[in-house]
């Protein structure tokens, strides 16, 4: 087991290295453009561009440029944004991480529980009206764009019904750090969590239902019934357990992508200063150092989430253990 984990970590390091090289090449070795001018931003003074060219080693060979950049990203962490007048990039990203992690982790817990609950209920009562209504609800959840649902929730909880007992507890938009005020943190995030989770509850419930129903046609389900097990035990211990792999795979991908910045829309709608919003602003200003840092950060989460999924596979399915 430890060997598997180590092996996976080494693989992960290689993938991260590959991503960093690719990102570097895209931003700094694209022919026909001057990276120094882009880092300096629009209307930069010629001295600034010359300064950057020297700092980043653009007058030296590519491997040296790469090494210098990685050093600034990970070791000295003094990569600065020129568009935002010399603001340090790494602290910006580090400040944004807790907000995104809080948002996505909370939503993930909701959507895993919701997806399993709805999916199993629908599979257990398949082809009845309960199943059909649950699946229609799931489809509605999938179809609602998060920015629209978020705005509607804001309209209801922040203005229309804010003074009623229903939503009077909802604080203003924005993120409250967990360390400062745990209760406030939770209150501020409940509605963003729900909004972000709705889409995924819909998707996960439908996928799980389909997988469980597929498992029901397997011989081992008949064996389990022939053993005289209760319907619930057959469902949970045999059908659900063997349908977990696709569920876990999807979770790894979605969680990684969301922590890596894909929760952008939710963050913007609810005024949460997370990684997605940071990337979005950087893209608007063409703030190359920030884009670089967030892309590296996002890739780290996607790769890490997938590594964890691989380890979970082995825990879930003995056939994956080698």
């Amino acid at each position: 087991m430890i060997a598997t984990i180590l092996n996976r970590l080494i693989q992960m390091a290689f993938v991260m290295f590959g991503i960093s090289v690719l990102v570097f090449l895209i931003f700094f070795a694209t022919p026909g453009s001057d990276p120094a001018a882009r880092i300096a931003g629009r209307n930069a003074a010629p001295e600034t561009v010359a300064q950057i060219r020297h700092d980043f080693g653009f007058d030296r060979p590519l491997p040296v440029q790469y090494a210098l950049l990685m050093k600034r990203l990970f070791i000295t962490r003094d990569l600065t944004s020129f568009v935002n007048r010399g603001q340090q990039v790494i602290p910006q990203v580090i400040d944004a991480v807790p907000a995104t992690l809080s948002l996505v982790t909370g939503a993930a817990i909701l959507w895993v529980l919701g997806g399993i609950g709805v999916g199993l209920a629908a599979a257990a009562m398949r082809d009845t009206w309960v199943d059909r209504s649950l699946m229609i609800l799931a489809l509605i959840g999938i179809s609602m764009p998060v920015f629209w649902l978020g705005e509607v929730m804001n309209l209801l909880s922040q203005s229309r019904f804010h003074d009623t007992w229903l939503f009077s507890w909802v604080p203003g938009l924005g993120y409250v750090p967990l360390t400062e005020d745990p209760a406030g943190w939770a209150k501020a995030l409940v509605i963003p969590w729900l909004t972000l989770a709705v889409l995924y509850i819909g998707i996960y419930a439908r996928i799980l239902r389909a997988n469980v129903i597929e498992a029901y046609s397997e011989d081992f389900i008949r064996t389990a019934r022939a053993k005289g097990l209760s319907e619930r035990r057959v469902l949970i211990r045999h059908a659900f357990r063997t349908s977990l792999l696709p569920f876990v795979t999807m979770f790894g991908l979605d969680f990684g992508a969301l922590v890596g910045g894909a929760a952008l829309l939710t963050e913007v709608v609810f005024g949460i200063n997370g990684v997605g919003r940071l990337t979005f602003q950087a893209l608007q200003n063409l703030d190359l150092p920030v884009i670089l840092a967030t892309v590296m950060y996002a890739s780290f989460f996607v790769v890490a989430a997938n590594a964890i999924v691989d380890l979970l596979y082995a825990a879930i399915d003995p056939r994956m253990r080698t």
Partner: protein, 334 residues
């Protein structure tokens, strides 16, 4: 005569399909006495597995209707509430499925799966159930049973898995074992071992066995009684010795002709029954076998009568004299 252990009378099974209900099994009757081995024989799709599965309540109740009466130890099974049926399954009637490769849940160890069944029916500690699982694995002839109990299904060979499935089936000492083609998916040498094991279980545990198969060789070796099914109906049934020496139905002749002879000159090719069995829902009127029958008569398009002696019956129009002339010619032409 003592009351049979399992008595199936006029069982019918039909499916709801998009084009209306389709009858797959019709008028099936058979009885199994204590400790008896009854073989249900037929081609694929003849409804043999389906009949026995619906007896166990393992059919899909949403689109399947089961009619007739099934009595097990004097208790009617078809109207039994699901909960009581569940207590019966696995404890009094056990089921061995065809393909040991897919019959076990891939994510649990063999020992856990056997213990799960024991604990579903008895108040027993997890530890004791595991110990019993190991003992059962030893009983079915698995080498290093304690080690095997900790293994997962994919780590065992087909024969080992079938043994594990059998160990699981007999874990609660069932009075009746329904084995659905238990040897079909196995190598010939392993087949013989599994059949030996089933016979040993009958002597050791006193279980009656319903052996579903399409292999007449297996029937000859195992059965006390034979039930031949074709297109969802019982076309012949009787004591094994009689069915083998004096088969009444032309379909049975065909099945018997497909056993390779062990003595005498080797036939150039084994006789086969021409054509294919009818699809469910497209069974012709009258005798379902008539289109493929070598001794077909004009009357065969009408419903055949049940003929023969009380112990040995068949569903056929042929009279004794017609049979006597028809059988040798069909064997020659084959």
């Amino acid at each position: 005569m003592t009351e049979p252990l399992l008595d199936i009378r006029n069982l019918s099974v039909s499916f709801a399909t998009e084009s209306g209900p389709v009858t797959a099994v019709q008028d099936v009757s058979l009885s199994v006495a204590q400790g008896e081995i009854v073989s249900v024989v037929g081609e694929s799709g003849s409804g043999k597995s389906l009949s026995l599965l619906s007896v166990l309540g393992l059919h899909d109740p949403r689109n399947t209707t089961v009619g007739g009466t099934v009595t097990f130890r004097g208790q009617s099974l078809l109207d039994l509430p699901p909960k009581q049926m569940r207590h019966l399954r696995g404890r009094d009637i056990a089921f061995i499925s065809q393909d040991p490769m897919t019959a076990l849940t891939p994510v649990y160890s063999i020992g856990d799966q056997i213990a799960e069944q024991i604990r579903a029916h008895e108040r027993i500690t997890a530890w004791a159930a595991q110990a019993r699982a190991v003992q059962l694995l030893a009983d079915v002839g698995i080498f290093a049973p304690a080690d095997t109990a900790k293994r997962y299904p994919h780590q065992l060979s087909g024969g080992m898995r079938q043994r594990a499935v059998i160990a699981m089936a007999v874990s609660c000492n069932p009075a009746l074992l329904i084995a659905d083609e238990p040897t079909t998916a196995l190598d010939t040498t392993v087949q013989a071992q599994v059949l030996d094991l089933l016979r040993k279980l009958r002597t050791d545990y006193g279980s009656a066995i319903v052996l579903i198969t399409h292999d007449m060789g297996v029937v000859a070796e195992m059965a006390d009684k034979v039930v031949v099914m074709y297109a969802g109906r019982v076309v012949e049934s009787g004591p094994a010795a009689e069915v083998f020496t004096n088969p009444l139905h032309p379909y049975t002749w065909g099945l018997l002709g497909s056993i390779p002879p062990l003595t005498g000159t080797r036939p150039r090719r084994l006789p086969s029954i021409p054509g294919a069995p009818p699809m469910v829902g497209r069974v012709p009127a009258g005798c379902a076998f008539a289109p493929r029958c070598p001794a077909r008569l004009g009357v065969c398009s009408t419903e055949p009568p049940r003929i023969g002696t009380p112990g040995h019956t068949a569903l056929c129009h042929l009279t004794d004299s017609q049979r006597a002339t028809a059988r040798p010619t069909t064997l020659e032409s084959a």
